[in-house]
């Protein structure tokens, strides 16, 4: 056994143990803490598998922002007793056994299983790269070759935020009073938040030639806003203020404008002219970063004061 394989085995085992305890730990709070640890392990695994973009995004989103989400929920939820009570149903057990066994058989044995771990040779992306406008392939895929995915993703974020807003317009949900913040936390946040914004800006700027880009940068800036808001250094975002609405929709609006103008003036939906593609990609990335940051921050810590109209 090589040392590399040993690291992989340990990471995989840790992942499974933590996932199990996130599902079946007796108290909800333990389960949520375990889920945050799960995000950290997943980020390490992405780094091991040669996916630095995913490791960055997972560390900021999966471990950081999701953690805040769950802790915030734990604060607002009434204390529950045993939360691991299980259903007992023969049909469900049969479905579960059937689905899992067929998954394992399909993906681990036979021709598909063979395919999953056999090296392949695929140069189509490398052949298309010279026309992309950026050097880094992941950014090229996200904002040029599969720009549709990114556009729809920005719309999903707006959709989720409007879903959350419905909860605040239909009925008033009482918020627990803001707890007194720990002075050390306030001091620490004043150092941390500017650093997060700077690192976010660096990732955005770096995204055209190295790991990084709009999502990672947006997530980092959102986490800076979240920490500042938690210690009370940032005023509420207030949905009724036009600038907030503008910032939330700026990325999607610019993206749609580009889509329509490429349809009218160039070769079709989101088919950038090669000479302009670098500029278009950078403009979209900047606006997408701002929109992602504001939307994520509102999704995570937006309360009645932020979201009601």
């Amino acid at each position: 056994m090589t040392p590399e394989l040993l690291i992989d085995l340990i990471l995989a085992l840790l992942l499974l143990i933590i996932a199990w305890s996130a599902l079946f730990a007796p108290s909800r709070r333990d389960a949520m803490a375990m889920f945050i640890a799960f995000g950290v392990i997943v980020a390490l695994i992405w780094a091991r598998l040669g996916a630095p973009d995913l490791a960055l995004a997972e560390a900021a989103i999966g471990a950081g922002l999701t953690g805040v989400l769950f802790l915030n929920a734990a604060r607002q939820l009434p204390q529950a007793g045993r939360t691991t009570i299980r259903h007992k149903s023969t049909i469900k057990a049969a479905i579960f056994v059937f689905v899992s066994i067929s998954l394992f058989i399909l993906l681990l044995s036979g021709p598909t299983g063979e395919q999953m771990v056999t090296p392949v040779d695929n140069n189509r992306l490398a052949d298309a790269m010279p026309d992309a406008g950026v050097i880094y392939p992941v950014t090229a895929v996200l904002l040029n070759f599969r720009a549709w995915d990114t556009l729809l993703e920005l719309l999903v974020l707006i959709l989720a935020l409007s879903g959350v807003r419905q909860l605040y317009t239909s009925a008033h949900i009482s918020e627990p009073a803001q707890a007194n913040t720990w002075p050390l936390l306030t001091g620490w946040t004043q150092v941390l938040a500017p650093m997060l914004v700077i690192i976010g800006g660096f990732l955005l700027w770096n995204g055209s030639k190295a790991p990084g880009g709009a999502f990672q940068a947006g997530a980092l800036i959102a986490s800076a806003a979240v920490t500042l808001r938690i210690v009370g250094l940032l005023p509420p975002f207030r949905w009724s203020f036009w600038l907030t609405r503008m910032l939330v929709s700026a990325g999607a609006l610019l993206f749609l404008t580009v889509a329509v103008s490429t349809f009218i003036f160039a070769d079709g939906w989101l088919n950038y002219p090669v000479s302009l593609s670098a500029r278009i990609i950078i403009a979209i990335e900047i606006f997408a970063t701002i929109s992602i940051a504001v939307t994520l921050a509102l999704l995570i810590i937006g309360d009645h004061e932020d979201l009601h109209t």
Binding site: T2, E4, L5, D8, A12, L16, A19, W20, A22, L23, F24, R28, M32, F35, V42, R48, A51, D53, L54, A57, L65, T66, L69, F70, N72, A73, Q76, P78, A80, T83, T84, I85, R86, H87, F96, V99, S100, L107, L108, M116, V117, T118, P119, V120, D121, L125, P137, V138, V141, L142, R146, V156, L157, A160, G163, I173, S174, A219, I292, L296
Partner: protein, 104 residues
């Protein structure tokens, strides 16, 4: 077995499948909405892990699959945020209903 990646890729593939069936088991048996949400969020990384293992079959790793997973991560976190708000709202409704019943 001559390929150096073969061992660790298989390890992660097995871990991904175990994660998916673990999450499925949680989804089917647990009643608590928070646990069910965690279960969905465990199935998700399982699927992403399969995609990243498939990306690793070539050198450099396949950027298309990585880009898809980045998109998936952001969609997953926004869905989780919405689901948590719904859970909080429904539990608060349930607890106020109970207190009304207790004090006639």
């Amino acid at each position: 077995m001559s390929d150096p990646h073969f061992g660790s890729l298989s390890v992660y593939l097995l871990a991904a499948l175990t994660l998916i069936s673990m999450g499925l088991y949680g989804m089917m048996t647990l009643r608590d909405p928070i646990r069910r949400l965690i279960a969905i969020n465990i199935i998700g990384p399982g699927v992403f892990l399969i995609m990243v293992v498939m990306a690793k079959r070539q050198d450099p790793p396949d950027a298309i699959l990585h880009a898809l997973v980045v998109t998936g991560l952001v969609v997953a976190v926004s869905a989780t945020a919405f689901a948590l708000r719904l859970i909080i709202a429904s539990e608060k409704n349930a607890s106020t209903d109970h207190s009304r019943q207790d004090t006639p």
